[in-house]
């Protein structure tokens, strides 16, 4: 399953699954709501039953610990002051390049544009073959076939947004058809959007059912990324609830945003989602990835996000199987910084490819 980052960690064993029960409070609190015995071998079973009905799901999500906005933002800001230099910086830049989901999601996308993007993803810096490939290219469903051709033979995945991206305002049947189309065309990953309207109306079960239906449509081949559009959920409590809702419903990745609204990925909302995947694994043994998307444009920003990953979820997530950047312009800045580290000089935008 791992791809282009493998050369960074040649002999890395698969991440260990920690003993469950670190967050056993949830298990205790919801034991009365579910039928599993409290000493269930894996809390995942208990958590599955959390979605047994609208009311159990609601009580679970509303029973998650609150988020203090000031404290969360202060922690994210303080991790942003880490000073990553020399060897650590070189490692972080290569890792970040290997984590990019190189994205084009425009009405004006053409096969030519998508081919150019695919070529760039496979070989981001044609002048330096030691540069890792990006993790994936991310396109609309009708461009999946073109993208697959463009990255054929490489480790680069093809991710496709689906489910009436970015608004998600369509009938479920339409959304599922959208997903099936993309999967049939060969998409390795599906980036779905949740129904924010249903979430904000408190209709969590509808959101849950939709995610499980999409997950089913993804089959066993495509990994599912669930986009919350955190800018529209607006409160950190909502983002934490959405994160748990997505993970309970079977998300392989939780993703901040579409990149199409005013507020996209921020250090604080990404930190919060990293806490959620960390706690979810502690309780269920299931590891879920995180993808901040939109608004990350500079290497400096990307390195800050990697520091968040390192000091929150931990090094098990420092791998493009578990962490991604949804970005387009970020890659060129990473490449320029990489050239600077190698040569000691800043090059300039004419020394990286425009795509």
């Amino acid at each position: 399953m791992k791809n282009s980052a493998d050369h960074l960690f040649p002999d890395r064993p698969p991440p260990p699954i920690p003993p469950h029960g670190v967050y056993s409070r949830y298990a205790r609190r919801y034991a009365r709501l579910v039928t599993m015995p409290t000493n269930a071998p894996a809390a995942a079973h208990a958590l599955k039953d959390v979605a047994a009905s609208d009311s159990t799901l609601r009580r679970f999500l509303h029973g998650l610990p609150g988020v203090d906005a000031v404290g969360l933002e202060a922690r994210a800001a303080s991790l942003g002051t880490r000073s990553i230099k020399t060897t650590a910086k070189a490692y972080a830049i290569d890792l970040a390049i290997s984590m990019v989901d190189l994205t084009t999601l425009e009405g004006a996308d053409t096969p030519g544009k998508v081919r150019a993007l695919g070529a760039k993803a496979v070989r981001p810096d044609p002048t330096d073959r030691s540069t890792p490939s990006t993790a994936a290219v991310c396109v609309y469903p009708d461009m999946v076939a073109t993208a697959k051709e463009a990255v054929a033979g490489s480790s680069v995945k093809v991710a496709s947004v689906a489910t009436a991206f970015p608004a998600g305002r369509a009938a479920l049947s339409v959304k599922l058809a959208d997903v099936r189309d993309a999967v049939a065309a060969g998409a390795d990953e599906i980036d779905m959007v949740i129904d924010r309207g249903a979430f904000l109306a408190g209709n969590y079960m509808k959101v849950y059912d939709e995610i499980t239906a999409v997950k089913e449509a993804c089959g066993t081949t495509a990994r599912l990324k669930v986009i919350f559009e955190t800018g529209e959920l607006s409160t950190y409590d909502n983002i934490r609830r959405a994160s748990w809702l997505g993970m309970l419903a079977g998300a392989d990745f939780i993703k901040t945003s579409t990149g199409k609204v005013a507020v996209n990925a921020t250090p604080a909302n990404t930190l919060l989602m990293l806490e959620a995947v960390r706690d979810f694994r502690a309780q269920t043994g299931i590891q879920v990835g995180v993808k901040p998307a939109g608004g990350i444009r500079t290497s400096k920003d990307a390195v800050k996000f990697l520091v968040l990953v390192n000091e929150t979820a931990g090094e098990d997530w420092l791998d493009n199987h578990w962490f991604r950047f949804g970005a387009s312009s970020l890659l060129n800045d990473l490449l320029m910084q990489r050239q600077k580290l190698a040569t000691g000089r800043y090059s300039g935008p004419d020394y990286v490819t425009v795509d």
């Binding site: 404290g71 202060a74 000073s83 090094e315």
Partner: protein, 478 residues
Amino acid sequence: MASVFAYAPAPESRSIVDIAPSYGLFIDGEFTDAADGKVFKTVSPSSEEVLSEIAQAGEADVDRAVKAARKAFEKWSALPGSERAKYLFRIARIIQERSRELAVLETLDNGKPIRETRDADLPLVAAHFFYYAGWADKLDHAGYGANPRPLGVAGQVIPWNFPLLMLAWKIAPALATGNTVVLKPAETTPLSALFFADICRQAGLPKGVVNILPGYGDAGAALVAHPDVNKVAFTGSTAVGKEIARTVAGTRKKVTLELGGKGANIVFDDAPIDQAVEGIVNGIFFNQGQVCCAGSRLLVQESIHDELLDSLKRRLSTLRLGDPLDKNTDIGAINSEEQLSRITSLVERGEAEGAERWSPACDLPESGYWFAPTLFTNVTQAHTVARDEIFGPVLSVLTFRTPDEAVAKANNTPYGLSAGIWTEKGSRILAVANKLRAGVVWSNTFNKFDPTSPFGGYKESGFGREGGRHGLEAYLDV
């Protein structure tokens, strides 16, 4: 933390600060030797390197400094407030301009991480001068009647944990209200005060308004006892505070004392857990726990004890201890050998009394004074580590069952400086805060300081308030 993502060393350059091989006492606008010629050395606690040789003030020097301050008082106090404000604003701006230099200096002399001196100490120091500069011409409106008068010469003795910040807390309100100052910094951290003396000269402050006397306890005692001192301000240990109270008893000297603490950080079961963990860490490991208002007693509701402790231990494992000048260091050095041995002996006592000791895996540097972040669990109110101020990176974890029990345990201490409340329930914050006998109560945060907010203690944590409008009263004849 051995990690695939190991941060390379990122030390702040010390070339920005130029430490002279020796410094004198700062009396009447000039650096001079001590009358008896005595000197002492100041060392960097992280490396035990001798930084400089400092003139050591004695009784004769104290007398000389008080006389200089007395002489300067007449003109200084007669200046219009707006004129005094100009000097204070100028000092504040110079501090901002020289903040990187002062941050590196403070880190070298004190041992605390550059992250703290750069992001906490220095911004607060400048803010304090700016804040009291603003008061200087508005004293009529401070609530102490028309034209409130200064006291005269203030004798001030400050500790080593926040050398420059404590200086700011003392000097800024004193000058704004028209007093003149003789200040004795701690013997382990005299350098930033001497750099401040240079800033006073740079700002053109009239001679004698600020006098700095590095020295030991005997100089502090002489200053406090000097008959021509009108005001005594002290921050430090409760034992010395009691001594000072005895010395000034029966005189007309006005006194403020800011002494020790054993702050309770109360975490209810509906707290925002991740932020509470950050707050606990910030409460006790900020400045290696060498903070009088540290949240050194964690009172956690029994129903979330295990979960919170797991989270806390995981978080402590990510703390980075080492070179204080490295920008990624979270935990620096203990200020002195003496303090290190005090912490060590109290921790040994905690273990001997049966409390369970835990520290994350953490390599201590070979030279310098270091102590790993430490947790004690299974602690009761009867344990020494729950009662005595340790003044180090040591947290005692106690549990409670109900809000009433939390309040009773939090208040069950001779101290009363700070407390913290963690809950998402606003009504509980208000109800509990009203019952806590502590001068500062933080809710859903800890160790947050602001010049506009008064700070001070109940009971053996001292009396008088520093900061805010309340802080003016200590320097006015009201």
